[in-house]
Point group: C2
Chain length 384, copies 2
Amino acid sequence: MTFSLPPATVTLDGPRFVVQYDYSAPAEGDARQVAIEIALEQTVELSWEITSPGDIRDRVVGQLESLTLTDNDRWSARISYPVEAIAGSIPGLINTMFANTSMKQGIKVTDLEIPSAVAGLFPGPQHGVHGVRQLLNAPDRPLIGTALKPLGYSAERLAEIARAFAMGGIDIIKDDHNLHDQRFATFRERTARCADAVNQSNARTGGQSLYAPHVSGPIDSMLERAHLATELGAGALEIMPGIMGYDAIRLLVTDGPGLPVLSHPALLGTYTLSKEQGIAHAVVFGTLARLAGADITIFTHFGGRFSTTKQDCEALIAAAARPVDGMKPILPMPGGGMTVSRVPEIVDFYGNDVILLISGDLFRTEQSLEEAARHFCNAVRDIK
Amino acid sequence: MTFSLPPATVTLDGPRFVVQYDYSAPAEGDARQVAIEIALEQTVELSWEITSPGDIRDRVVGQLESLTLTDNDRWSARISYPVEAIAGSIPGLINTMFANTSMKQGIKVTDLEIPSAVAGLFPGPQHGVHGVRQLLNAPDRPLIGTALKPLGYSAERLAEIARAFAMGGIDIIKDDHNLHDQRFATFRERTARCADAVNQSNARTGGQSLYAPHVSGPIDSMLERAHLATELGAGALEIMPGIMGYDAIRLLVTDGPGLPVLSHPALLGTYTLSKEQGIAHAVVFGTLARLAGADITIFTHFGGRFSTTKQDCEALIAAAARPVDGMKPILPMPGGGMTVSRVPEIVDFYGNDVILLISGDLFRTEQSLEEAARHFCNAVRDIK
């Protein structure tokens, strides 16, 4: 007779949310055993026989909603957890989804279903596809983005490049994610000069280009940078949730200046690259970015210099727009070695609700950066 | 003739830090090419031919310091970056180390060398091995830790368990990382009751057990929870940098109440599991946790229910204690399915500077939790 835990004194009869895990197992019995281990690991962290009966065993522990053989020995287990487990926070949600199971070989999160009971806990994207289009005065065409670089340039020189991009007609000119608050281009000076350059160009061209400075850095400087950026004339904000935490996006939404938020994929590749483990591309760059409140999700498109697949990108399109009660769809911003010559193909793949992110290719121009930017914009506008 | 970027107007002659990357390549020329691509990707994000000459090409771009064939077709490239690139922040350091390269197949960060020019940017661990030992009045023996669980229990019931663990003599009683601020055991009530239970037990036993509540949740609630925990009598704080960001640890050190910080490995397994990609176990749980300021780093020991290897743990021991100018060594806290019967073997492996983390196994007792805790403590104290 072993010690046994008394039942819980609380009741949990609230809504649940579902996470889907994929893994290999030789037979259904084994697959079911893996699912039970995940369900315990992600909640009580006790083995089944010592988990107290009653509501802890029946409701706190993840419940196996379905188990499906998808391919050879591959299984998809859909496990539900009580929404109350996440304690109303983005970190709580991510924790319940995958925290300790990330340390076991061969288990991949392939879906996260967001019921309104979860969506309602967070403000979500404030602008979404429609809001960003309004800011850009571009109701339906594909949108155009680029990155300001390279690291090492002074704020003044970066502003010259931003000016060229805006004069050429680029919609969103974002900082390269390596630009933080370096001595040779401080956050304040870079943002001031680049925002000025873009806004002055708008005044000349009649355009509505937005400059999006990168506000990652010390977490307790982020909101200050975000508000400063707004004062200095920035039009959007960029952040790296893989390094700053997804809750940094939520904080930018709840306590920031209200500008559209771009989520950058830095460090997140490790989750998405392997078919065997981690978290699916669509969940990382689609569902989580959107739930946290990003309006625009940057990720690597397939066929560039990164290791993304076509299926990853298809699933992401779906996750960015999947109907969720009260949550706006967001804009995919595929990049990572894209070229202007690929514009028709990329738009064909994503449809018009996309921001094409091309940067390095513009620097390969035989003309000026402004001409290169114009050539890119024309390539997008020429699409029928 | 393509457009060419003018040289930078700034000079960078400051100190550098080194990141080591491991990958496969058929021959030295290919291995060198991969290294150059990493060096560009992590800095200027431009191809070499359009990177402007002068200090950007020569100093901002990562420099290949050494390239070594380690095994068959495996190469180790040591690449140095200017410390100024990280702009004095933990997110900046992690970004420069691996941000975009994480999205390429087959590249793993296997070392991060911390020169004093980097260490000096951050406060580092405030207590370290020696400081934690002083708080516990345990100058040289192996230390003893456990986790309070399960999720779903009321604060009152969790406090009963905390009391049993403290009466049994456990040094550090930490929250299971699934305990956040759930309705049925709010952060405030749980911390108040559990800290009281532990402190009252100390008064009875003459012990110096510490209760470590988990302060993860909304990032803008973290410091408030940390200060509240101190007022309520907690003795340490637990945080999940994989979900909250490593800079959350730094913020707990610079703006928190000064209690020892425990770093929990949630979500970080995906980085460390694969030999082919991600970031090495020792870098994630050793170097980064220590640099950010954790005093205690929790991770999964080999041979438990997680997929960690013996080599991973050996490297971690080295990283936790590696001499770094002005930075205290920190305590490894291996857990994840450890049992009391393994205590001698684990201590033999880590030496005395370790906190043994055993939790689920205590609940399998045939006696009371207090007896189970005492049995665990005796197993540690019996080691000669």
